[in-house]
């Protein structure tokens, strides 16, 4: 354990150093992603200019939902997405085997040696918009609501990281995982809208098979006092439980998948 605490900051330091070697490309990438998501937000704003509400949600409320979804995805994906997407390639080429013989957890090595600081643009945009939206949606701020928001943010980041990790780990069993990421991002885009506008089958999908509803709609609807589709008053507490429960599931899945790993390259 002590060794892990020494090695992890070193791995992160090495990764940051390598990214900073191409500083201008790194900054351009952050700027481009900031711009791209800002365009996405603007599209929604344009729609709301014309229609006022979407599923009973006003522009500031939707801005809160949008920004919370992007913020918690960025926090979760920084510790999972790019690193685990590449497992597929590592399995195919056989280079994953080199991680298995290191005296260190392969998961921790993968995640921290590629801790993605490139999400800074997403986080800056999401945090900025969220700060504005939170002042507009009329939340009764007290210790309880602040604590809920902090806990919901952590739980939602865990939901994202857990799902992404589970998808990445399936590459150990079936070699390919990229098509599952295609579906993940299809569903992820839906999770920035209020769940109540979707047909029941999509609502259930977002709460069960790909439970990203717990990382966006459910906690934000609870925070601003909206009726929560499907879950009702259970939504608030369930959104706090979803993160830890999914992380436990992801850990079990990771172990199972690694136990099935036979190598595909060589």
């Amino acid at each position: 354990m002590q060794q892990a605490f020494r090695v992890i900051p070193f791995l992160v330091h090495l990764y940051v150093k390598s990214r900073m070697e191409y500083r201008s490309a790194f900054l351009l990438a952050i700027g481009a992603q900031f711009f791209s998501y800002a365009c996405g937000f603007t599209s929604l704003w344009v729609m709301l200019l014309r229609f006022d509400t979407l599923g009973g949600w006003s522009w500031p409320q939707l801005a809160l939902l949008f920004s919370f979804q992007l913020l918690t995805y960025s926090l979760g994906a920084a510790t999972s997405f790019v690193q685990l997407r590449d497992i597929e390639e590592k399995v195919r080429l056989g280079t994953f085997d080199t991680l298995l013989v290191k005296p260190f957890s392969p998961w921790a090595y993968l995640v921290f040696s590629g801790l993605n600081i490139g999400y800074a643009g997403h986080i800056a945009l999401a945090a900025g918009l969220m700060a504005w939206a939170l002042t507009q949606v009329g939340v009764d701020w007290n210790f309880g609501t602040v604590a809920y928001l902090v806990a919901a943010t952590i739980s939602a980041a865990m939901v994202n990281a857990a799902i992404i990790t589970m998808i990445g780990a399936t590459a150990f069993i079936v070699v390919q995982s990229s098509h599952l990421y295609t579906i993940f991002f299809g569903v992820w885009e839906l999770s920035r809208y209020p769940l109540n506008i979707f047909p029941a089958v999509l609502q259930w999908t977002l709460l069960t098979i790909v439970p990203l509803g717990f990382a966006s709609y459910v906690p934000m609807a609870y925070l601003i006092g909206k009726d929560i589709a499907v879950l009702g008053s259970w939504g608030g507490p369930l959104s706090l439980l979803a993160g830890p429960v999914l992380v436990l599931l992801a850990m079990a899945h990771w172990r199972f998948a690694i136990s099935k790993y036979q190598g595909a390259g060589g």
Partner: protein, 264 residues
């Protein structure tokens, strides 16, 4: 010409070899279509028509915008072109008796054909059976939609090729891809039609080349443009395509010359 047709055919056959992966793309696209239909149904809940546009028209708009218009994966071209130029792999193509940009265009025509047949058409059939998709406003508008659709693909190809070639100087295909994606998500009208934009901005945005990617083809399909307007926008779109093709040719020449100077 026949050699480029062969490249298109070869790309199509390559795609067919990986047809096992298509279900994920198909499923992802279907979810997207249903999501946009749900969004328009939600905002139209109490309104019969907004800006003269009805809900069935918006459902049709969403289906075409999320299937045909976005069928082709332009991101891959930026990376293919960017990587082959920056890594020097492009040298192999410089030795062959072909024009590299035309070779890429032929290949992407093959990819587009596959994605229309394997992903867009099945999704359109499911959406038509579930929600109903309107036919073109008239025979003229239907035929012109096909022309606008082809123009949309050519313009999209040229925009992606410009970004891919710019990567040669900027050394980052990634940033260019995200920037283009941002511009298209807002200004192409493939998701939010330009007629819902504030009136002051609409006039200008409708004239930008991005409007020919999504907005103009679907507006023509739905009969939102008169015959003369349709011809006007088509001619203007061709003008944009010519301008961008010139830009691509210029950048390509500059990049190819630079590769030669470096010696590969």
């Amino acid at each position: 010409m026949s050699k480029y047709l062969a490249f298109a055919q070869s790309a199509l056959q390559t795609q067919l070899a990986y047809r096992g992966q298509v279900w994920a793309a198909w499923f992802g696209r279907l979810i997207q279509v249903f999501a946009w239909i749900a969004i328009w149904m939600a905002v139209y809940k109490d309104a019969g028509s907004v800006n003269g546009v009805t809900l069935p028209e918006m459902i049709t708009y969403a289906v075409i915008g999320s299937t045909l218009i976005t069928a082709w994966d332009w991101r891959k071209l930026i990376y293919t072109l960017g990587n082959s130029v920056t890594s020097g792999d492009v040298a192999i193509y410089l030795l062959k008796p072909l024009r590299f940009p035309l070779y890429l265009f032929a290949t992407e025509c093959g990819n587009l054909t596959y994605r229309i047949a394997a992903i867009a058409v099945p999704v359109i059939i499911v959406a038509t059976l579930t929600y109903g998709v309107l036919p073109p406003a008239s025979l003229f508008h239907g035929l012109m939609f096909l022309a606008f659709f082809a123009l949309s693909f050519v313009l999209m190809f040229l925009m992606a090729a410009l970004c891919g070639l710019l990567a040669f100087w900027l050394m980052t295909a990634f940033s260019l891809e995200w920037t283009l994606q941002g511009i298209l998500s807002l200004l192409s009208g493939s998701a939010i039609p330009l007629w819902f934009f504030p009136d002051a901005a609409q006039g200008l945005i409708k004239l930008l080349p991005s409007a020919w990617i999504g907005y103009h083809p679907i507006a023509v399909y739905l009969g939102k443009t008169t015959v003369s307007e349709t011809w006007f926008y088509f001619t203007l779109g061709l003008g944009w395509a010519g301008l961008m093709a010139g830009g691509v040719a210029l950048l390509w020449r500059a990049a190819a010359t630079r590769i030669t100077v470096q010696g590969g």
